[in-house]
Symmetry: C2
Amino acid sequence: MEAAAVAVAGSVTPFSGATITRPRPMLREVSRAMAQCSTCSLQQHCVPVGLDMEAARLLDRIVTSRIRLRKRDVLIRPGQPFTALYAIRSGSCKTVLIAEDGNDQVSGYHIAGEIIGADGIATARHDCQAVALEDAEVCVLPFERIEQLARNDSRVQATLHRLLSSEISREHNLMLMLGTMRAHQRLASYLLDLSQRYGSRGYSSSEFMLRMTREEIGSYLGLELETVSRLFSRFHREGLIQVQARLVKLLDRIALKQLVAASA
Amino acid sequence: MEAAAVAVAGSVTPFSGATITRPRPMLREVSRAMAQCSTCSLQQHCVPVGLDMEAARLLDRIVTSRIRLRKRDVLIRPGQPFTALYAIRSGSCKTVLIAEDGNDQVSGYHIAGEIIGADGIATARHDCQAVALEDAEVCVLPFERIEQLARNDSRVQATLHRLLSSEISREHNLMLMLGTMRAHQRLASYLLDLSQRYGSRGYSSSEFMLRMTREEIGSYLGLELETVSRLFSRFHREGLIQVQARLVKLLDRIALKQLVAASA
DNA sequence: CGCCGTCTTGACGAATCTCAAATAAAGTGG
DNA sequence: CCACTTTATTTGAGATTCGTCAAGACGGCG
C-alpha cells in the first residue's frame, strides 16, 4: 500500500547531468524483511548513531524497503514529489543541483551510512538529482513515518533534527571551500574529507578509489576538469599523493593539511 | 528561569569578523509579554507562515523573549552552546562562517521574518557567528520548547521541518552561485535576490539600501571587495542599476536576469 | 581490435586578485 | 555642530590563477 517512495522511473530526462545513453528499467524494490536498522552493520554510521537498542528498534518501523541501484541509475530526480529520505546502505551516490538555465553542479558525494533527500521537505519536491556512481543499495525512509515516530519518541525526533542540521553544516563547509579557497586547496580539502570519511567507516583512509570523474570532481569543487587533472599531476609530482587514474594514495597528509590551512 | 538563551557577551573575541573596536554591553532581553506570534505583523513571512490562528497561538508558547541588538552586536558566536533559534523581527543580520585557520566568509544576509541558528542543532554548538548589521530585534525560540511542541502538534512539527529544509535549499542556491557563476552573475543574482525578498515583505523591490559593505558582499559572493566595487560601477555605467554608496536602484531587471541566466 | 569516454598536457587569454593611491563617507570627541 | 580620525569606496596597473581550446594518450568494453 505504499510503493509511492519507489515511483522513480529510469529513462533519460532532459535534466540528466550524467550522460545516460540507453533507457533503463524501473528501479527495483527489494524485500522489506531485510531492512532492519537494529541488525544493520552500519548502525554506528547511519541514522541510528547514538541510539540505544530499543530506539534502534523503533527505526525498524521506518525503513520499509530497500532499493537496488546500478551504476548511473537515477534515484531522485529534480522536481519529483518528496516522500522519503534515503539512507545509503552500500555503494555511493552523487547529488546534482540543476538550475533552470541548465547550469548544473555536483553538490555532494555520499557513501554508505549517509542520508540524502532532505532538500525536498520545504517545497514537497526535491530540488536535486541523485545518481548512483556504482552499484548501490539504499534504504527508503518514508518521511510521514519518520514524522509520526518523531512525535512519539523524542530520541527519534532528536535524531531527525541532528540529521537535518548536519546537512546544513555539511553545506557550510562546502560554501567555505567554494567561497574562500584556491583550486589546490579545494582538491586537498576534498581528498582529506574522503580520507576521513572512508577511515571512519573502516576502509583505508590513505588509499581509496575515486568514484567520480575528473569532470564531476571539478563540478563539485567549482573547477574545470583540466584544472583538477593538472592538480592531481602536481600533487603527484610534489610527492603529496600517488595517483593512477581513479586510485589515490595519500603520501603526505600533513602537507595536504598545510595546503588547506595556508591563508594564501 | 531561562535566561540561558541570552548568555551572549559583547566583548571583543578573537573570532570577530567585524572589526569591533570597543567593549560592548550585554545584550538586553526585552519584556516577554510583547513576544506574540499570533499578533505579530510578520506572521505571513516568519515562522507561522501557512499556519492558522490556532496553530499560531501555539507558537506564542515558544517565543519566550526578545533581544534588542545594536549595529555590530554579536547575537551568536561560533562554538557557543546551541539553545535556541532566533527569528529576526526587525533589522538585519549577517552570518559568518569561521574556519579554524581564521578563514572566514559571510554565509548569509538575513532580514525580518527569517530564522537563524539552525546550524547548531547537530553538534549542540553553533558553528557560525551572527552579527547585527543595523539595530535589530530578534525573537528567541528555545529549541527544547520547539521540540516539545512539535511532538504534540504535527503542524508545528511540519513548520519546523520546513524551516530546516529551506535552510538547506537556501544553501543549495548559494553553492550553485559560488560553484558555477562568474563575478558579474553573482552580483546580479544577489541584487535580484535582495529585490525579491524586500518586495515580498512590502518594501520597495526596486530601490533599497545595502546593509553590507563591499567587503562583506564580496565575502558572501566569494569575491574581493574591489571586484564588487568595479561591478557596481560597471552595472551603473551600463544602465542596469543606479548606485550611490549603499543606495541601489534597479533600472533594468530583465537585463540582470539575462546576465544570470547566460551560460557564458 | 577498435571505438568511445576519460584523462593528461600544452599554449594562450580572460577574469579576477593584489597592491597602491586618491576620494568619499561615517564615526568620534570636543 | 565642527574638526578630526577612521573606515569604506573607487579606480588604476600589473600579476596570477584558472578557464578555454586543442591534441594526443590511455583504458575499458563490446
